[in-house]
Every structure is written in structure tokens, then in C-alpha cells.
Amino acid sequence: MSDARKRMVARAARDIQPGMTVNLGIGLPTQVVEHLPRDMQVCLHSENGITGIGPSLTYEQADRNLIDAGGAYVSPLPGTAFFDSAVSFALVRGGRLDLTMLGAFQIAENGDLANWKIPGKFSPGAGGGMELAQKARRVVVMTTHTDRKGAPKIMQRCTLPLTAKACVNRIFTDMAVIDVTDTGLVLREVAEGLSTTTVQAATGANLIIPDETLPRF
């Protein structure tokens, strides 16, 4: 992983506050857990029916019946709970999930998220993604700022099928931290070594750039 992406993951971890119940999506978001202090009071949830996820386990240590939704073998903590899939999503839809961190193919300036289907190329189903995106109290996405061809992933309108409308609150990329607000996308932080002009040029929608000096990550 590039240095900028590592710094993005570390920066995203700082948005997790003590006392939160958090769901980390498959891929980059899962790596956020490596940056949380061991003594932090935080409850990780996974769709397959667990709250209080502890550190991942090696092959030799693993319990065959204890995985997270991404299939990683995880450990229990003192206070871990197991439950069925209906309870697991009651927690999500019922408003008990403080924060979810998800991956993204595209994000629109109004907070629309597309992360489950590329017609004709990639269509494995959305899993629990729609409910996480629609119902977590705060939704942040983590993604590279542009796709492999350099095209912006942040745009005026998504062209791919939506996961959920107007659901994203904050975007972490390898170039910037951007908030989705009622007035548009606001640039909050910029990666080391990049100018705001560079970030704007790599973005397919207008960024509101505050006058003050933006923090670096």
C-alpha cells in the first residue's frame, strides 16, 4: 500500500471516538483497526452477528466458528456478544450504529454512494452495504481519490448504480479529507505534499476551499 494510503487509514482511525459502536467495511476500512489504541473503549460490530470484535487471529490460533463479515478470523473480548442476522441488522437499521466506514467506487457531491455494482463487470451483490450506508448514524467512505485510470471517483453525479442516496458524511482519500455538507463538498484536510489546486483538479465536482490553512495528514 502506498504511503499516502497508509496515512489515510491512520487519519480515518482518528475519527473513531471512545464509546462508539462502529462497523468497518471490507477492504481498506478493516485496516483502520490497526491504528486504534489497544486500551480504547470502542465496540466493533460485524454484520454476521458479533459485537465486541477483538484482534484478528492467525491460522494457528483461529476458531473455525468465529469470523467477521469479511471472513477474517477474529477473537472475542470480555463482553463480546453473538446474535443472529436479524438482530445484527436491527442494530444497524435501528440507529444503534454510530459510525460505518465503507469503500467506494463513486461518491457524488450530494453524498450519493455507489460501491456495489459495475454493470457488466462486477456484480457480486451488496451484502449488508445498503443498510450500513442508509442507516448508520454517520457514514464515512475511504477510497483512492481517483480510479486506476486516474478518473475522479468524487463527481457531480454517480454514473454507477447507487448503494444509497445522500448518505455519505465524510470522504477520506489518499489526497484529502472532504466533508459532504448542505452547501457542497468542503475540503478539510490535504495530504502532505499536495496543493489544494492538485486536489481540485483530481476531483470531478467543485470543492469549497476554506480560506484558512488546511491541516495536513
Binding site: Y59, N65, D84, F89, P124, G125, G127, G128, M130
Partner: protein, 230 residues
């Protein structure tokens, strides 16, 4: 009074499934997937099956055996990203795949088991998963009608069971199992351990015996149940 004995052989239990059956299959990834019941279903070979399962397992295990054997025509699921064969069969039009949001699949099954016609939800509104479904307005808010799901059979994996079919699940092997155990006409549970009546603590039974029709004790677990080195 004495509670009845529902134990049977895996061959007799799975032998009841015929062509065209709809079958709910428990499990989320490996935990909770009744691999032995699925393998017996492959041996028996009924065709034109509708499978309802969270996922299609991975290549070379579980649901993948049914797909490879050409026994499945329709799959109702939430995510098949770990099974390239399932995606290829879908893309080639060999099987029909109906995707459902994961928690909504759980609730559709729960509703089916609970004798309800369906549920109302705003999950999937303004997306491909919601566009073709009936919409209603409740208290001024638009909701999608998600119909209840029932099946002819449910295949369940339990950690412990008694002869009456009281079941206990373990860790993340619970997932869809207790929901599906309520939602099928004939429910077949495989169990890693069969214990005498009275041994399971009444307060800790996850699925009460009246939901279960047949209990199959597994003599041994196949390698599919084991930890996978990734």
C-alpha cells in the same frame, strides 16, 4: 410426558427433497453452513432447486458443489463475490440470481417463519434493488413492500441438539440458522453433538424443538468445516 425423538439418518432426511424444491441453507461463509447436508443433497441429485442463502460459499465448498452439479436454477442471496462460478453462471444466464439486502433477507425469512406476509422498509429505495418493487406510503413516508420468504426445506447447522430438535448455535455460526429454522415446511438440522433430552439448559436454547422436523447427528465433520488458510 416425553418429547418425541426426531433423530434420523442423513440419507432419509435429505431423501425427502425432490426436483423443484426451494431450500433455505444456513450459514454466513463457512460458520453455520451445513456442509454435510449439502454434500448429501449433491449425492441425491435433485434438480431445478431454488436456493436461499446469504452467500454461495467459496469455490469448492458448500453451495458451489450444487452449482457445479447443475442442480440450481435460482439463487436468492445477498453476496456471491467469493464464488466465481456463481457469478459466471449468473452472467451466462444459467441461473437466476435475486439479490437482497442482507438484513432485509433476514427479515423476509423471519416474516415468513412468523406467519407474516412481508415487511415494509425504506432500504433500497431509489436503487436497483427497490425500483421494481411495490411502494406504499405509511405515515407520510415511502416504503418498499418486501414479501415474506418461505421454503419447502431448511438445512440448518447446529453445534448442539437434543433428540427433540432443541438447538444451540455457537459464535458466528448462528447467523441465518435460527431464522431459516422457522421458515420452511420441513426443517432438517445437522448437529455436531447430539445430547440427551434435558442436557441443554432451557434458557440457552436458541431454536425450540417444535420448529425442527429432523435431527441428523454428524459422525464427523468434513474438512470444509475447518479453518481455511488464506
Amino acid at each position: 410426558m416425553i418429547l418425541s425423538d426426531k433423530t434420523t439418518t442423513i440419507s432419509d432426511a435429505i431423501g425427502k427433497i425432490s426436483d423443484g424444491a426451494s431450500i433455505m441453507v444456513g450459514g454466513f461463509g463457512i460458520p453455520g453452513t451445513p456442509f454435510c447436508l449439502i454434500n448429501e443433497l449433491v449425492r441425491k441429485g435433485p434438480k431445478n432447486l431454488t436456493i436461499i442463502k446469504n452467500d454461495a460459499n467459496e469455490t469448492g465448498m458448500g453451495i458451489d458443489h450444487l452449482l457445479k452439479n447443475g442442480q440450481v436454477t435460482r439463487l436468492i442471496t445477498t453476496h456471491i463475490g467469493l464464488n466465481a462460478r456463481a457469478i459466471a453462471l449468473m452472467n451466462d444466464g444459467v441461473i437466476t440470481v435475486e439479490f437482497c439486502a442482507q438484513g432485509i433477507l433476514a427479515e423476509r425469512i423471519r416474516a415468513g417463519g412468523a406467519g407474516l406476509a412481508g415487511i415494509l422498509t425504506d432500504i433500497g429505495i431509489d436503487t436497483e434493488l427497490g425500483d421494481d418493487k411495490q411502494h406504499v406510503t405509511v405515515n407520510g413516508r415511502t416504503q418498499i413492500v418486501e414479501t415474506a420468504l418461505k421454503a419447502d426445506f431448511a438445512l440448518i447447522h447446529a453445534d448442539q441438539a437434543d433428540n427433540f430438535g432443541n438447538l444451540g448455535y455457537v459464535a458466528t455460526a448462528r447467523n441465518f440458522n435460527p431464522l431459516m429454522a422457522m421458515a420452511a415446511s420441513t426443517v432438517i438440522a445437522e448437529t455436531e453433538a447430539l445430547v440427551p433430552l434435558g442436557e441443554l439448559t432451557p434458557d440457552t436454547i436458541h431454536t425450540p424443538g417444535p420448529f425442527i422436523d429432523h435431527v441428523v447427528e454428524l459422525a464427523e465433520l468434513t474438512k470444509e468445516y475447518a479453518v481455511v488458510r488464506r
